[in-house]
């Protein structure tokens, strides 16, 4: 590596990945406008993105696409788009990761261990991803979830400073989700930085507290769970403003509601207005200022704010389990504790949808259920 690429040679900086004014355009459309973000050591950041933005961002990071505009710094070195220079510092887990299906779990991990020169015992890593019973099984005989856990194991073995995961827990079982969440906590605890790119809000919210949305409108901090230890003033200022606006809207809504009691919730799809009975609704999700009702796996946008709906639906047994989720408690089957700080509610529908449950709301829920 050329010496001029080093900004300073210490390598002991807090910021592992720093993106400055990075932007991307394809022909006539904006993939994402210039944005700036930073991922530090001990920190996991989730980017909630669409397919397009994700493909472009990963393309840039894996060296397929050039850094057209802006600057990416990894561990203090300016990243020029030639991936070989950044190799020891980034570990990737892409959605379509190639694997040696004829080798067993143990042989695969032994190979990675030698390839990356890891000193960690392979057996310990296999236990961490809960594959001890399958260590001698070829990858071709494993389920999708178990194969994904082999990929998690590879991430541990690689031991890079920065881990980039694309859709880390898509279509995997709950055990694997749990393994992944624990893994992210452990990696962060040992000083690594984790960047998660996902199109699934539940994945993003349940893995980390720092969630951003990246799309053609730019980068927005999505949700700061209102936890005491969050001190990002700038990011918090916006949601507060929103809160005030929302409260005003609620006041107005109350006045109209006093006149008569209308219980169905209108949703609008194209030109049609569809009315739903509250008990039909599985949960309500709010993202980007847009509130959507989830009914039987389909999402229906509604013009109401989530705060208004919370008030209207309280008497129907709806519970605000998260800043951006309102769940129909009648439909909840299971409460899963992933880690001490991360929980999910699993619904009683065919797809076993899970909805995030924040830490503060967990206490409230326990109280409601009469548990201490």
């Amino acid at each position: 590596m050329e010496a001029e690429l080093y900004r300073n040679g210490s390598g002991d900086e807090v910021s592992v990945l720093s993106i400055k004014q990075l932007e991307s355009y394809t022909e006539h459309s904006v993939v994402f406008p210039a944005f700036t973000m930073e991922v530090s050591r001990h920190e996991a950041v989730a980017l909630h993105t669409g397919m397009n933005a994700r493909a472009v961002l990963l393309g840039i990071l894996t060296g397929k696409l050039p850094v057209a505009e802006g600057e990416i710094t990894i561990n203090g070195h300016i990243y020029t788009g030639r991936i070989r220079q950044a190799v020891p510092e980034i570990a990737f887990m892409l959605l379509e990761e190639g694997e040696y299906t004829r080798l067993t779990v143990k042989e695969n991990l032994r190979f990675y261990s030698k390839l990356y020169g890891s000193s960690r015992p392979v057996d310990e890593v296999i236990r961490m991803v809960r594959l001890d019973a399958k260590a001698g099984v070829r990858l071709s005989a494993l389920s999708h979830s178990e194969r994904k856990r082999v990929q998690y194991a590879r991430l541990i073995i690689q031991g890079s400073q920065l881990l980039v995961c694309e859709e880390p827990d898509q279509n995997v079982d709950n055990e694997t989700k749990l393994v992944f969440r624990r893994l992210v906590q452990q990696l962060c605890g040992s000083g690594k930085a984790v960047l998660i790119l996902t199109g699934n809000m539940e994945t993003a919210l349940s893995t980390t507290n720092r969630v951003y949305r990246l799309d053609e409108k730019g980068l927005q901090a999505f949700d700061i769970q209102g936890e005491e230890d969050q001190t990002e003033g700038l990011a918090e200022a916006e949601p507060n403003l929103l809160d005030i606006a929302e409260e005003e809207a609620v006041n107005e809504a109350e006045q109209t509601l006093r006149l008569f009691r209308f219980e169905k919730i209108p949703t609008r799809i194209n030109d049609k207005i569809i009315l739903f009975n509250p008990p039909e609704v599985d949960y309500v999700e709010s993202s980007d200022g847009q509130t959507q009702l989830s009914i039987g796996g389909e999402l229906y946008p509604t013009t109401f704010k989530i705060n208004e709906l919370e008030e209207r639906l309280h008497s129907y047994g709806f519970f605000r389990c998260h800043r951006s989720y309102l769940v129909n408690l009648q439909k909840v089957r299971e409460v899963i504790t992933f880690t001490r700080n991360s929980y999910s509610l699993v619904l009683d529908d065919a797809a076993k949808t899970s909805v995030p449950l924040s830490k503060t709301k967990m206490a409230e829920l326990k109280e409601m259920m009469g548990l201490k």
């Binding site: 070989r84 379509e96 004829r102 390839l115």
Partner: protein, 236 residues
């Protein structure tokens, strides 16, 4: 980035295990040996028949195994992962070529033994065979880079097998069509010519020209493979 034998051996070991479980490829390893047994029992005469088997070994093992090793990494999308690992391109290809080379050496030595070929000057023949093996492994690398899957590689290997093993059939036509004289510089024909001379009692000094021609083929094929890799892999 330092050159690490540990990573080369990791890749070699991984490919060895993978290959030994890949029936599709590993059964082709037996082909030259079967032919050698058959020819040996029938009692073959002449150097040309021995070299037909040896050439078959070179192509089916050296070129075909190497091409399918690389094509499979591309097919299964694992080459990208290797490229994103600390292993350099040179290390990746060294590890793979080493496995193909060892397999070729074992199979060719086995078929020489089984067919009962006993060269007069073993040292010279050994040098020529090693150089040829390196050439065919390079050829396999090139085929692997051009193809996208093991299936495709096994189709491409057929014309290659025809060109590099049937060259000797063209020699009678050289008097009639002088253009075909180029054929005499094919590595397989050079190897055959060299073996004929050795049987006639020639030493290392007498066959140096043939060795140099084969060496030139080795250098050219590896240079082309390196160029194609740069050209193709960077875009993908």
């Amino acid at each position: 980035m330092t050159f690490s034998t540990r990573r080369i051996f990791a890749i070699l070991q991984k490919d060895y295990k993978d290959l030994s479980r890949n029936l599709f490829v590993s059964t082709t390893l037996i082909m030259p040996l079967l032919m050698a047994v058959l020819f040996g029992r029938m009692g073959i005469e002449g150097i040309a028949s021995h070299y037909l088997i040896i050439n078959l070994g070179f192509i089916l093992v050296g070129a075909y195994v190497q091409s399918s090793l690389i094509a499979e990494e591309k097919e299964k999308n694992t080459l990208r992962g290797l490229m994103l690992s600390p292993a350099s391109t040179l290390e990746i290809f060294c590890g793979k070529s080493l496995l193909s080379f060892i397999a070729t050496a074992v199979v060719v030595a086995g078929s020489i033994w089984l067919s009962g070929y006993n060269p007069r000057n073993l040292a010279v023949i050994a040098i020529a065979l090693v150089l040829s093996a390196v050439f065919y492994v390079g050829l396999g690398t090139l085929i692997g880079l051009f193809t996208k899957s093991v299936m495709e590689a096994s189709v491409v290997i057929v014309p290659v097998m025809f060109i590099f093993s049937s060259g000797s059939f063209l020699t009678p036509f050289i008097d009639k069509y002088p253009v075909l004289a180029v054929v005499e510089y094919m590595p397989n024909l050079q190897l055959l010519e060299l073996a004929n001379r050795v049987e006639a009692g020639a030493g290392l000094g007498d066959v140096l020209l043939h060795l140099l021609v084969i060496l030139a083929w080795v250098l050219v094929i590896h240079a082309v493979a390196a160029y194609v890799y740069k050209k193709r892999m960077v875009d993908e």
